[in-house]
Structure formats: C-alpha cells, structure tokens
C-alpha cells in the first residue's frame, strides 16, 4: 500500500522528502511534516491498538495531543518509550512503532474475549472482585497487570541527555494559535519580556494548514517572523506547558530532538524542562472537540470532525473516501464541505431538526446529502468502519423511530461541540462557569486565584471564531504588558470570515434502538479507560453520584489523557440521570501534567553522579588507598570497614574490634557535626539546650550532653568543650549536624533574641582522626608536643598543641570506652595528619577501623546511637540516663514534659541489654520481644532489638533493646520471635558488656 489516502496536493508536508518507518514490523512510507498518525492514515491504516479493558480494536480519534486511543510503543531497546500518542510523534526516517495492549497480535487478540464477557466486567469490577480476601491480591495482581497494562517500560538505562532550566518573563503566552500569536505580538511591541510556548512544531494552532484570508496569511507570517526576530521574545515550539503552580510558577517540557529520531540529536539534549516564573500569564490553549456518545462509537474510523479537517489541511491526507459527518452543531459542516471539496463522498447527519439554511444549501450545492433530526444508531465493522445505520430522532430526541438508512462509509467524522481547554486556568486555582451558549465550562474570572495573574483568550475562553480569538488575544497582550508597566502599540488585526462553533443543540447521549446498557452496543464516552454510558448509569444506581466518586468508581477521566475528550460528556450524562443541571454535578480537578512527560526531562541534568552530591572527608583518598569499603551516612561517604585480602565484612570487623581494645585503632571522625558557639550568653544558652549543667564547666574541659525537644524526647547528643568563658566547641551526630544548627538558631532568633550567642557550623573546617585503644597514648605522644600523661591531660579535657607538626586541638574523649584522643586539625591538613599517624602507628600496631567496628565496640559499652537506639519517643529516663538530667536547673528545653502523665507512666519502653541464651545467635535488629509466642502475627510486643552484633571482645553476641518496663526486668528471660518463625530466648541485662567499672577509659 503506497499512501492511498494521500492527496495530490495541499498540506504542510514535503512530498519530495519520503520517510520510511515501520508499524508492527510492517514497512510504510510517509513524508517530512507528517506525524506517525497522519502517515499511518495516509497508508490506510485505521487499526492502531486495542482498548484498555475490553481489548476492542481502536483507531485514531484525534489529530492532536488529546488523542486517547492511538498510544504506541515507540522505538526499541534503551530508546523505547511506551504510551506515546501517534498524533504527537513527528515522523522521522527509520521510525519503529508497535501497537500496545494486544496479545498475541493486533489483528487477533485473546483479550478481546473481555468484550464478549463485558457484562461480567462492569465498572468497579476490580474493586468488587479483588477486594477480598486481601491476601489474594498478590495472586490476582500479576494477571490483571498482564491483561490490562498499556506499554512496556524500558529496562535499560536511558541513553539520552536531558536539561532543565529556569526562566523569568513578564508575559508568558501559552499557545501559538491565532489568540496566542495575537497576544504575544501585541505584548512584544512593548519592552516586556515575552515567552511564547506551543506544543506543535509550527505555530498556527487550529488554523494550521487552513487558508482563512490573504490578510490573515500576511498577518500570520509577519507576526511569526517578528516574534522570531525580537530579542525580548523567547518562542518555544514543541513545548508543552505541563503544570501551573502558585505565584505564576509554570513548568513546560520542550522536545528538542525527539523529531530527529533516537540518537540523532548530536550534542543537543533530547528534552528540556522549563521552570518559568511569569508576572502575567495569557492562556490561549484553544479548545478540544467532544465526541458524540453513540452506539459503538469506538470503531476504528470514528474520528473527531476537526481531526478529519486537520488531516486534510495540514497533512494532505483524506482519511476515507466515504465519510459520514455526524454533528449537533455547525462547526462540522466545514469538515463536510472540506472533505467533499477534496474528493470524498460525504453524508451529513445532524441531530438537530432545524439547521441554518445557508449550511444545508451549501452542502446540497456540494452534492452532500443532509439528514437533519437523525442519529447514528449503529456502526458496522469491527476492525474498521464499513457502514453506519441512521434513524430519525423522536421529538424529544430521547429515542429513535422510523425509516432507517444504511450509509456506506469508512470514516465517521463526529462533533458534539467544543470544550474550552480550561486545564491551565483550573490548575492556576480558578473556578469554572458553565456557559449554556456553547455547552461547556469556561474560566470564571471572578473566581480566579489572585496570586496567579492570568487571563484566558480565544477558544479556551469559549470564544471560538478566529476573529474573536485575534481580538481577545491582542487585548490580553496589551493588558498583560501594561500590568507589568509596559506600553504596547499593537498593529491592526486582519479581517477573517466568520467561523467557529456556530449553533449547537446539546446531545449528550445519542439514543439507539435499545436503551443504554441493553443489547450488545456500547456507548463509549471515555475511550482510553473503556468507560461507557452504561457504566455511568451503574455508578448512579450504586450511589456514586458525585463527580469525584464517579471518576474513581468508573475510572473515567483517568490515565494518560486525563479525560480531555471525555470529562464533559461523563458529567452531562450523570446530570441527565440525576435530573440535575451540569454545573450541579461539578467538575473534577484538572491536575498536572497536561500531557505525560518523561522522568528524564524532570530530572534534567541532575542524574547519575550529579543526582546527589557526595561529601568526602579530607582523608578520603587515604581510605581509598587502604581499600576501605564505604558506607553512606547522610551524603557522606564513610569508611565502613577495611578488609584485608581474603577477609569478608564479618572477619574484618571482628579483627578491627579486637585491635581497638588490644592495641590502638584509628577512625576518621571528620563527619561528626561541629558547631562553634561564641558570645556572652553561650553558657546560659547551653544550659537551656542541654539537660545537664554547663555554667560550671571549666575552660579546656569537655562534657557529654543530651538535647531534647519540648516533648522531652532525645533528639541529638554529643560532646561539647569549653574553649574560653564565652566560647564552646559543640559536636553533634553526623546526621544531625544541620538539624542541630537550625535548632540552636531557631531558639536564639525566635525565643531568646536578647541572648548574645553566635553559632557557626565548622563541620567541614576541621578534620578529625580518633585514636582509640590502650596504646593510643604512646602513639600520640610519639608525634606531639602535648604532654599526654594521665595527670597532665586527663579524661574529658582538651589540649592545644602540635600533632605531627600540625596545629591541633586534641580532645580526650571516647566513644569506645578505651583510652582515646580525637585529634582535630584544620581540614587542609587532614590528609597529612592521617598519613603521619598511619606512618607513626606502624610501631604501635595501629589498626584502621570503620563505622561498623565503631558501632560494635560502642555497643559493647552500651553507648547509644541517637536514631538507632532511640527513635524520637524516648526520654533520657527511658534510656536509663537520668544521671545526665539536672535536678537543680529550673528549666531546660523538654524538662516540663518529664512530669507529664505519659512520660511518667509505668510500662514505658526502657533501654536494656540482651544476652541470647545461645551466645552464637545474633538477633536481627528490629526483632520483636513478644509476650507470648504464636504461630503467626499478631502477637503482643513488649519491645524490640535496637542494636545487635557479634562482639569479639565479649566473645559472644550482644544486643541492646527497648523493652517495656525493662529497667525492672533485668535478669528476666524474654522471648524474641523472628520473621522466619524462629524463637530465641534471651536474658535481660545491663547494657554494658565490657569494663563495667569504666577503668580503661580513664587509664
């Protein structure tokens, strides 16, 4: 077949540039300027897919992005993209497309049995059938997904490059049809910065390919060229406005190289995501034609009237040689005359009894037979329309009776009127108003959201004639520029003949010989979701009357087209059933995105290595050299463990843990949060922030502190050191560093602004090497001028001096319970310090250790990790840490909450140690201690394991837990029930497993 439906002339295609493509493996040819849809239609291909639920054969309905049916899988392998609308895919040479939702083939589809079984697949079927029992959902799901899915996601990484960018403008114009062009042209005569975006490759909107008048053509060409040449104007074709957010923040996706084909974009990104702030927005998004809802109106070949026009005018394709035009309004007469003038045999079927005589006589002059007061009652041809049957409508248009006619045709061009594209206005927070003159919702400017200054112009405002579009657009452009403080001087607008909707009589549900829902015919209003008028009747019978319920129960208006062609028909049918007016039924919310967009575009350039920034300590390179395995802690990369040849993680951690307690280990502690706190009231401030006393802390001394929130719950901890009377060095957990700084600033600024305290994050200013173990002193002393003797440098104090020749602050603090020193040097010396200590450490059996060993050996001492052993619901008392809570301070943050009834009650979870009866069993963290073991959950839980390790120093497994009333239960045996059903007995103990007296740390 060689483009049998292609006209000899006309259209914006280049017949000298043939392009080859395949659909379902079959080769075809189209022309440059085609879409995949127009090229398929030119080749006489009407069957493009199977429907979502009933697997009915489906073809093109539209010519634009509102297309609900013609979803195809584009390309293969890494470049494949599901659910692309054939109407929005510009043809390129070598394009490969396949149909979706059919198995094993488009022509023969097993799932079509669903259509025969459709009386067993009503709306709400899935809800009703698969609700119970819940456990069976897993079984049903895979079958449902296989049967009901649309396209297939790519399984390989996306080879394309994307970009995202911010833009600011005075006036943003959405749509480059007559209204949008006039608006942009008018605004651009001022000094306003204008952006004009349009989803099509060429401007013109609904007039693209049409010849309105010489004056219009001249105005159009001049306007487009002036906009392109104006430095104040950003004109983005192939760009769809996807979302409208508060304060005129809008997002758009620009398809930069999609039309060239995969991998042919050279150095350009495939798509660009625009995030636009506009002072004023002009919405000129046009309108979408509504289908009529008639019996079997989903047969391939039933199309929107304007789509037939577009295929003829823009693409030089006559969709069929015999065309029945079915309408309830005047606009489709232009289609009939156009198709007839291009060689089609056209029959006109109008549901209205009386029609403008000018239209009927024009049809008669063109040889078009016109049936007024008639309706299509059936459509023949399963895989493509072959004929329609029409019958006269009764006086009230609710039924049909009388002489039936059979009309042979391949295409039914139908129009139920036009729905203004109010998506963007609605997304901007504006409410819609029902306009009885056009039978559609239009923006209600009295209910616009004031933070989003916008105006709708042209068809999206219910003004369908080109003349009105031009006029409204130009006025909007002038007004928007003026609102930004710019004076425009718009040129004269061209004269055009009157066109547009003309007269219309509502016809929401076209009757047939059977009542809706009886007989085999289906009246589809939502093609993409396979929802019929009978489903709306069912929803109404079952009480799903509100539009929001109707939507969710029947799925009407969902999925990729978001009901562009279906929503109003659904509302109107429901209104009719309820005997209500359409505005009473209301509309659902229009949500972004307007059309589907790729995740690639949203992500822009922030993918791969740029997705999240990694934080490295100054010693990172040393760790890499030492063969460290890294762990993510926040954005930091921290050495997790340092395996030697042949060691797994367990072996490495056991070795490192032993070394710390037997000789000396070194940990990179640079990631710990560090905050420099200065000012007259610094000590008084810390008194409020921490639970313990700070005023009496001597200069050069360190103290451990717990921070609570006002609920009395622990939220961070760390050691803080007094550097001077008015100067402290605070440390926080690695993950809590930013949160704690924010917390301090909040209290200082909002509650105690009279306090003179200044907080500065110095986390990244200091590199920290922590030496832990009995040989830490001899190692440190070998490289420092500080006197490290126990007398001169006691536990919990800080000394300044030189370490390996580097100026350093050395803190004698310990997170291991061993003799320990944390050596802080300016970050730029971090690597030098680390290397010097590694070198010097050779004589002292120094062992590098990572975060896993740090976790094991702190647990041996029962030291908590905030966020692991606590979870935001435990107080210091729950953690058996009342030793750190001041009894004398009148107030600190969280103190009052200790005497609340809940924090005081018996039975709160409390912090304990657990020793399994079998010392080789390591409990899983998170395992629950249960009151009584049963075969299956639910079981009453008494608490859970928070930390659990194999401890080489205790020579057995150890665990920490939160256990209800745990402090009173030491010595009891408790039962832990694991996920796999195993049951483990453990004894409740003190959480300190090594050196209970704390001798080693003071050595």
């Amino acid at each position: 077949m060689t483009q049998a439906q292609r006209l000899d002339s006309g259209g914006l295609i280049d017949r000298s540039k043939p392009l080859r493509f395949t659909f379902d493996g079959k080769p075809y040819t189209g022309y440059a300027g085609d879409t995949l849809a127009s090229a398929l239609l030119a080749n006489g291909v009407r069957l493009l897919g199977r429907s979502f639920k009933y697997h009915r054969p489906r073809g093109l309905i539209a010519a634009g992005s509102e297309e609900p049916n013609a979803l195809v899988q584009l390309e293969e392998g890494a470049y494949t993209e599901p659910n692309t609308r054939a109407t929005s895919v510009e043809l390129y040479d070598g394009l490969v497309a396949t149909s979706q939702n059919r198995w094993p083939s488009l022509e023969f589809d097993v799932g079509a049995v669903n259509s025969a079984l459709s009386r067993f697949l009503p709306a709400g079927f899935y809800y009703k059938t698969f609700m119970w029992p819940a456990s069976m959902w897993m079984t049903y799901e895979k079958f449902i997904r296989k049967a009901a899915g649309l396209g297939v996601s790519p399984t390989e990484p996306d080879p394309d490059v994307y970009h995202s960018t911010y833009a600011h403008c005075d006036v943003l114009v959405i749509g480059a049809g007559p209204a949008g062009l006039a608006a942009a042209a008018a605004a651009a005569t001022s000094d306003a910065r204008v952006m004009l975006v349009d989803e099509q490759s060429v401007p013109g909107g609904a007039t693209t390919g049409r010849t309105l008048s010489d004056a219009y053509t001249q105005w159009f060409e001049q306007s487009v060229s002036q906009l392109h040449n104006n430095d104040n104007v950003t004109f983005l074709p192939r760009t769809t406005l996807t979302g409208y957010f508060d304060y005129n923040y809008l997002t758009a996706v620009e398809k930069i190289t999609d039309h060239l084909g995969p991998g042919r974009g050279a150095d350009k990104p495939r798509q660009r995501f625009w995030k636009i702030r506009a002072k004023q927005v002009i919405i000129a998004a046009g309108s979408i034609e509504r289908p009529l809802v008639f019996a079997d109106n989903d047969r391939p070949g039933v199309m929107l009237a304007n789509a037939v026009d577009t295929y003829i005018n823009r693409y030089g394709v006559l969709p069929g040689n015999d065309i029945a035009v079915f309408t309830n309004n005047d606009s489709a007469y232009l289609t009939a005359l156009n198709a007839s003038a291009n060689g089609a045999k056209v029959t006109m079927v109008d549901t209205r009894k009386s029609v403008n005589a000018g239209l009927t006589s024009a049809c008669e002059d063109a040889g078009i037979k016109v049936f007024t007061g008639h309706a299509i009652t059936s459509v023949q041809g399963a895989k493509g329309v072959s004929s329609v049957r029409i019958m006269p409508l009764s006086d009230d248009s609710k039924s049909v009776a009388g002489q039936a006619w059979e009309i042979k045709c391949q295409i039914v061009a139908n129009s139920g009127g036009w729905t203004p594209s109010a998506h963007m206005f609605s997304q901007s927070g504006g409410k819609l108003r029902y306009d009885n003159a056009i039978h559609g919702f239009v923006p209600d400017m009295s209910k616009a959201k004031s933070i989003n200054p916008n105006v709708s112009a042209g068809a999206c405002n219910g003004s369908f004639s080109t003349a009105k579009c031009l006029q409204e657009g130009s006025q909007a452009g002038v007004a928007a520029a003026a609102a930004c403080g710019y004076q425009s001087t718009p040129g004269a607008l061209p004269a055009v003949e009157e066109d547009g909707l003309g007269g219309i009589e509502a016809m929401w549900l076209v009757p047939t010989v059977h009542p809706v829902g009886e007989g085999s015919a289906k009246h589809f209003h939502d093609f993409q979701n396979d929802v019929t008028a009978a489903d709306i009747h069912l929803a109404a019978r079952e009480g799903f009357l509100s539009v929001e319920h109707l939507k969710r129960y029947t799925t009407t208006g969902m999925a990729t087209d978001q009901g562009k062609t279906s929503n109003l028909n659904a509302l109107a049918i429901m209104a009719d059933i309820r005997g209500a007016q359409i505005p009473e039924v209301g509309t659902t919310t229009f949500r972004p995105p307007f059309t589907p967009l790729t995740f690639g575009a949203i992500g822009g350039q922030e993918s791969g290595e740029l997705f999240i920034q990694e934080r490295h300590t100054p010693m990172h390179g040393c760790h890499v050299q030492s063969g460290a395995v890294f762990e993510d802690v926040g954005d930091w990369k921290r050495p997790w463990y340092y395996p030697k040849a042949g060691e797994d993680m367990h072996a490495a951690v056991q070795r490192e843990s032993l070394a710390v307690r037997q000789s000396v280990g070194m940990l990179d502690a640079s990631t710990l949060g560090k905050i420099d706190i200065q000012g007259r009231d610094a000590a008084a401030f810390l008194e409020m922030i921490y639970t313990n006393n700070w005023k009496n802390l001597g200069v050069g001394r360190c103290r451990y502190g717990l921070m609570l929130n006002e609920h009395g719950m622990i939220f961070d901890d760390g050691v803080t050191t007094r550097l001077a009377d008015d100067h402290f060095h605070m440390t926080t957990t690695t993950g809590g560093a930013a949160r704690v700084l924010g917390w301090l600033e909040e209290w200082l600024q909002t509650e105690w602004p009279e306090m003179q305290v200044y907080c500065t994050s110095v986390t990244e200013q200091w590199a920290v090497a922590a030496l832990n173990g009995p040989r830490a002193r001899e190692l440190l002393q070998s490289v420092t001028d500080i006197d490290c003797s126990a007398e001169a440098f006691p536990f919990m104090s800080m000394r300044e001096g030189k370490v390996a020749g580097i100026p350093a602050r050395v803190f004698r603090i310990s997170f291991t319970g061993e003799l320990a020193y944390e050596i802080n040097v300016p970050a730029r010396y971090g690597r030098q310090l680390w290397q010097a200590l590694q070198q010097a450490g050779k004589a002292h059996s120094l062992c590098l250790y990572g975060t896993e060993t740090m976790h094991v050996i702190r647990a041996e001492k029962g030291f908590i990790i905030v966020g692991q052993d606590t979870d935001g619901t435990v107080t210091p008392l729950d953690m058996d840490m009342d030793w750190i809570v001041s009894k004398t301070k009148p107030d600190f943050i969280g103190k009052r909450s200790f005497v609340r009834s809940d924090t005081n009650r018996q039975g709160r979870p409390q912090f304990v140690g657990l020793l399994t009866k079998d010392p080789q069993v390591v409990l899983p963290e998170g395992a629950h201690i249960v009151a009584e073991v049963k075969d299956a959950p639910p079981m009453k839980t008494l608490g859970h394991v928070t930390s659990s390790y194999m401890s080489p120093n205790a020579e057995r497994s150890i665990a920490l837990a939160l256990l209800n009333n745990g402090l009173q239960r030491k010595g009891d045996t408790v039962t832990i029930r694991l996920m796999n059903g195993d049951v483990v007995d453990a004894i409740v103990t003190d959480p300190v497993f090594i050196d209970k007296e704390g001798v080693r740390v003071r050595g």
Partner: protein, 96 residues
Amino acid sequence: MFIIDCPYCGKRDQTEFSCHGEAHIARPTDTQNLTDEQWGEYVFFRSNTKGLHRERWVHTHGCRRWFNALRNTVTDEIFATYRVGEVPPGAAESQP
C-alpha cells in the same frame, strides 16, 4: 510554589525557605508551674486557621534568619512578612 519576601533579602523562591507553623506562640517562662493542660496547649495545640494565618518561616538556604508571614491559607496570598519582634501588620483587626 510561593515567592516569599524575606524581610532581610527580598523576594526569593519558596525552595529557599522552610515553614515552621503558627507564629507568636511564646514559650512559657514558668514551665514548672504549669498544669499539664497549659503545657499541652503550648506543646501540642495549634489553631489550624482557615483564612488569615501568621506563621513562622526561616530563610534556610539564604540568610538563615527567622521571620513571620501573614498568609491567607485559602488563597495563599502573603500579605506581609515581618521580622521577629515586630508587631504583626493589622494585628488589631485580625487578632483572633
């Protein structure tokens, strides 16, 4: 996505800020003498206003200063932003 007029920096994108709920809730000074109800009122209860709402914002990714905003929670209009310690605009009329 709001545009927020930081009293220190000027108009900036909402992504630079974080919101911390209702403003002008002073921490009680005599916490130990409060009843559980009074303390609970301070810790847990907020007005959840529909309409004009005074709320705390912080310019997290900017000057890191806290300030207050007067916002209509229905329309999201921000009528004013003002520094901590300043009298809220229209306080006399809009005081609940």
